[in-house]
Subunit: 355 residues, 2 copies
């Protein structure tokens, strides 16, 4: 159990690292950020910052040796980087979560082997595979790169089986996965944590709305979803223990018409659909992650309020002045310079009494 004053190392300097560092500070910890970026959102709120490429394993070792525990804020940290860090400090969550979640085929296989449903899928290694998979699964379907996709990047919709080959080529002819369209009625997510001693705590489900592959709005607790909470917790618990996980993880779920839940995606980290917890719970997802990796008991995930979270994407952030004037709005800005299209610049939470 790390004492206040201990040092927490975070691989990655983006907004998730920033919000982790802010909550870690509130618990009395010092944070050290490892990032290739000169002037990162997280680095500007941390006690120290190691600026180097992830491939510089000497810098990684120096960083890890200077802290009491290492965590990561994004799932595409190279496995070798995480392994190098893990030789000098406990790495939480561990390498297994990265290995499983960095590849969509590995991830879906892991989920299905745990007895949890996903949309039907097939691995695709060639244009010929792609056409065969589209014929087998039916169209429309979505072709995704197995690795390094996020926020709708690295995806192509396949509307006719014959188009699968060109979609594969458009994605760079890299290893892919074809996923059948899930006949979902709504998208929800469960953000859950597992402590060092194996205890699990889940925040209430959030209902999520995406546009162009990017999350726009989360509403939590998801209205009328109390009946899904038990099954969502069972799924999250199976994934957490299967990954021997320590920390916070998010599972995006499709809700089918008959109420079944299919896993869409696992994010082995704090997650955009958990940002509502920052203002609506006594313990946010960021504090929960810090508690878990520090070996502390998990906090109570019960919310004191309901919340609607709206992302500020790209030029949305130019509305900051109006948002700052709106009573009851909790404004969160990430300290990013340029408001590029599709870039997550901040979010707002609006609270309301729990119904």
């Amino acid at each position: 159990m790390l004492k206040p004053g201990a040092r927490i190392g975070i691989l990655g300097g983006g907004q998730l690292g920033r919000m982790l560092a802010l909550d870690a500070a509130r618990l009395g910890f010092d944070c050290v950020i490892f990032t290739p970026e000169d002037d990162s959102p997280a680095g500007r709120v941390a006690a120290a910052c190691e600026i180097a490429p992830y491939e510089d394993l000497e810098a990684v070792a120096r960083f890890a040796a200077s802290v009491d525990v290492v965590t990561y804020e994004f799932e595409n940290v190279p496995v070798e980087t995480a392994q190098a860090a893990g030789r000098h400090a406990p790495l939480r969550p561990g390498v297994k979560a990265l290995e499983v979640c960095q590849d969509r085929v590995t991830e879906k296989s892991f989920v299905n082997e745990a007895g949890i449903e996903t949309t039907p899928w097939q691995a695709v290694s060639s244009a010929k595979d792609a056409i065969a998979a589209a014929q087998a699964l039916g169209v429309p379907a979505i072709l995704k790169t197995r690795r390094l996709g996020y926020d709708g990047k690295g995806q192509q919709v396949v509307r006719r089986a014959g188009d699968a080959a060109s979609a594969f080529e458009a994605l760079g002819s890299v290893p892919c996965i074809l996923e059948a369209f899930a006949p979902f009625t709504r998208e929800v997510s469960v953000v859950a944590a597992r402590s060092v001693d194996g205890a699990v705590a889940a925040f209430p489900l959030a209902e999520n709305h995406h546009e162009g592959g990017i999350l726009r709005v989360s509403t939590a607790p998801a209205p009328g979803a109390d009946g899904l909470a038990g099954e969502a917790l069972r799924i999250a618990s199976a994934i957490l223990s299967g990954l021997e996980y320590v920390g916070v993880l998010a599972v995006e779920l499709f809700v089918l018409e008959d109420g079944r839940l299919w896993v869409n995606e696992i994010a082995p980290r704090v997650h955009n659909t958990g940002h509502w917890t920052m203002d609506a719970c006594t313990v946010s997802q960021f504090e929960q992650h810090i508690r878990a990796i520090a070996g502390w008991p998990l906090g109570d995930p019960a919310p004191h309020s309901a919340a609607r979270m709206d992302n500020l994407i790209g030029a949305d952030v130019e509305r900051w002045q109006a948002l700052a004037s709106e009573p009851g709005v909790c404004l969160h800005l990430y300290g990013k310079g340029e408001a590029r299209e599709g870039r997550k610049m901040g979010h707002v939470n609006r609270l309301s009494p729990l119904s």
Copy 2:
């Protein structure tokens, strides 16, 4: 109106500066801390830190020239330091608040001239003065140094008029003030903000309990104190406008049996009795201060929950493990190394539904 990304300079590196910096970061600002301390609580969560004595006016100028606005987190910043900073960036609140509040006689004169009551008092410059004042005001009374007192330091209770001379000598024969004991039934405080354009917003009153001159507990909204809110707001508003103040300020008030309010003390800064706002309001006192000095509109001070705040003083902080295990506790630790007696190490907020 400062844009997100602007730089906020804070004179002082203690826990108040730390909590200001954390909330400023949430709004997208970068903070620069000026402190003589090598390894300060605030410096470890800020984008940059200028480490120099407050008397090093060249360092102060360099610091102020590097930011877009300067504020302070404690009222004993030397006036010359604040003035030097104010030549290079807007200083908010201004020098006047420091000049008035650094001296108990000046402060009480200012309050009384604004038509607001305080306990009866007299300035004391000599042992002879002290005895005369004790005879005039009656005993028991409290002799306090005019300058540099805090948390009960620099005070002597005078129980017999004849003891006033030795009390004066025990305080170092420096300029003092003798204050009559106020016949109060409870102590409350109002934490209020004034914006650049003169708007005022006050959080609900907190009821406060001190031990040995140090705040132990605040309860807010103060139970059964709705009838006092109007008068407290009138007092706070008069003080804020009289000081041409921009930012958050606290007024400690004695509640007399007949419901009258006497000003005990003004703190020209965020205040320990406002820490409950961090978890019970959508906008905390720290965010409110940052909004004010950045030229933003003030946030809505309405709480979503009631709160009880307990300070962790000295060895209290060793209970962190039990506190971290208690559901519903919001734990705040200040990142201070040594838990010296009387040192404020952290606080906890416990929320409950608004009654």
